[in-house]
Symmetry: C2
Subunit: 401 residues, 2 copies
């Protein structure tokens, strides 16, 4: 073995730790454990049957292209279909604004590659998506946490932070926002708050990264306008993905932005994986073209709506009074807040003993706060297990109280 392995790692690699979630999820793999820990879509929403037929069609019609290297920008037809879908949502875009990525996680990694030098500031929510934090951390970003209220990231705190940085002649590289059914908090930013955040970003000339993997999974309440659609001035980059609204196993996501920005990401992506699989892109494009996408998504929304309702009712019935939770209007997650003196990390071990799992909220906080919070996924297991799992979890919390 090379004798100085630890020394030859890059600064970035030295700062990489095994993901806490990854290790915890291993504990949760016991089939007797009801896991609210992962962020997995329900397998019963996967359109398995039609995909076999569609794959055959793609291979028969287009095999030589589907199995070959493809353009770094992505499949033209798929980019057109995605652009058309977002146009319905007020985005002023064409396929030239769309870069296909190897799922959203690659978009997050490329953000680090294209924008972040070690020590650069990035504004993130307290809490925020762990995969985003990990990607920015891999480029040694200095993350500044913005606290939440019931409407999500606090615009006053964003403005205060930008003003303080400006006084020091500094500026963050971007503000990372998950506006719809946020992971992990389950909170949706209302239009008025989105406009506040956007106006602040424009005033300080800072880019907003709008990461919205769940936007189309709304059970109830009113659609809120995308930051990208509110803007259309080049201050917002939007990330999307099929992982939650179609299948994660294809690893297809996209980035939407001004062509001058997209152009740099194309170059960065090229040295990263040359192109996203043309095979899965062609299958996805045909799946949308044939109308399966919208139909299947409706079923997914209904499925998750029912699962969330079961869970919220179970919370109301079984949870101790001192415990609160968010009640998301969509998405896959809700967030539990325990009394201040409880540590969700300590509860985790007891929860595993009682055969239920969650993710402690502190891992979503770049400053390590949120010890009395936990993220609960309601999309993956059945309604029956959601109910049973809440009973177990309530018992764990009751005992700790």
């Amino acid at each position: 073995m090379i004798s100085n392995l630890q020394e030859i790692f890059s600064m970035a690699a030295k700062g990489m730790k095994r993901s806490a979630i990854r290790e915890l999820l291993k504990l949760a793999q016991n089939p007797e454990i009801i896991s609210f820990a992962g962020g997995l879509p329900a397998p019963e929403t996967f359109p398995t049957d039609v995909l076999a037929d569609i794959t055959r069609e793609v291979l028969e019609e287009n095999g030589a292209i589907a199995l070959q290297y493809g353009a770094t920008e992505g499949d033209t037809k798929l980019r057109e279909l995605i652009a058309a879908n977002y146009k319905n949502d007020g985005f002023d875009i064409t396929k030239e604004n769309v870069l296909i990525t190897t799922a959203s996680q690659q978009g997050l990694d490329l953000l680090g590659k294209v924008f972040i030098d070690p020590g650069d500031k990035v504004l993130v929510g307290l809490p925020s998506y762990l995969g985003g934090l990990a990607a920015f951390n891999a480029y040694q970003a200095d993350m500044v946490g913005i606290p939440f209220d019931e409407y999500g990231m606090r615009s006053d705190k964003i403005e205060k932070t930008l003003a303080e940085l400006k006084a020091k002649n500094e500026s963050p590289k971007f503000i990372y926002v998950i506006p719809d059914f946020q992971n992990p908090a389950g909170v949706t930013i209302p239009d008025f708050r989105r406009k506040e955040i956007l106006n602040i970003a424009k005033r300080y000339d800072v880019l907003i990264i709008e990461d919205s993997p769940y936007k189309e999974i709304r059970f109830e309440g009113e659609h809120q306008t995308s930051l990208y659609a509110l803007d259309n001035t080049g201050h917002v980059l939007n990330l999307g993905t099929f992982s939650k609204i179609f299948v994660p196993g294809f690893r297809i996501g996209w980035m939407i932005g001004h062509p001058d920005i997209i152009d740099k990401f194309v170059i960065a992506k090229q040295s990263t994986d040359l192109c996203t699989s043309p095979f899965v892109q062609k299958i996805a494009a045909k799946y949308i073209e044939k109308g399966y996408f919208s139909k299947n998504l409706k079923k997914t929304i209904q499925n998750y709506k029912e699962k969330k309702e079961v869970m919220i009712k179970a919370f109301e019935k079984y949870m101790p009074e001192q415990v609160t939770w968010t009640n998301p209007e969509g998405g896959l997650f809700l967030f539990i807040t325990l009394p201040e003196h409880l540590d969700a990390g300590e509860l985790f071990i007891k929860a595993i003993e009682k055969k239920v799992a969650f993710v402690k909220g502190s891992v979503f906080h770049c400053d390590g706060s949120g010890k009395n919070t936990m993220r609960i996924n309601f999309s993956f297991v059945s309604k029956e297990k959601n109910l049973e799992g809440v009973k177990r979890l309530s018992q764990v919390i009751r005992e700790a109280l």
Copy 2:
């Protein structure tokens, strides 16, 4: 538009340029042009028919897993199959040594992420694979070129460079070697030279990256032992891919190494794309299990052997005497050397006029040398076109002389 876009790019992004090849390849897209420029496998080698059946089987037997998120390490069955295949080749490994990557280009990117801080030295061949140079450049590596002789990278020059660096108390992060049918040179390093390079690396305690995407495409001559198999002491990381021996459209590659190194790459990959598509991994695993892989590969080898022979014969017949070329025993590329005073970059425009394309060799040289060289791909177009393309190219060179 954000007003200071150019300023907010990272140092790495500021150093990224649109790939020269990418831009040139656009010129070569005219269907009348015979392109020797790309590095594409022949579409007639793609097993289109059986893949439709296999996909159906995978979806029927394993749809819920194939379409879901997967382990970052990769599909267990596929890792086992790959480990077993390399065991036949003298690798002392199990699946714990194998990380599935989103094709080899991701492996190259992760090498940068895990090892390279700005200014770190990396030893590369003169010439070397452009995608490797681009990946290391994205992490701001300081690349040191090692000249070639007929046996590939010169071991004496490697040793001299390492000694000079050591005298300054420096050491490169790794030596990047493409031992089999090198891209772009078409040269294979013989066993004696491999042992020399390996012994030098061990003596200086430096890691070797063995990138071998073409190893299994040998038409003639004798198999040479992998550096990894010669070593088995943890001084070699091996990169492989299905792109040239199965299909590039799946974007599946792998990295083989000591588990302590692989472990760090798993963490790095997680923030990069979470996992490689389980869907294509399951299809690939079943394709191998059913015995299609070996059968199809034999046909691919025969196909490329014939194409290369046609091309070499055409060179002998049509090329001016002052021009030399490598005659690879396998792979997809050969390398042409023109008289010193000719500039392949200048010839490119004339070649496009005559409807034939290649890649100028200087882009494969980290120091910008090799102006009188060109890379020729013989795998993609038909034998007839290989012949006609050489006629056209010879004409271009003749006129320049």
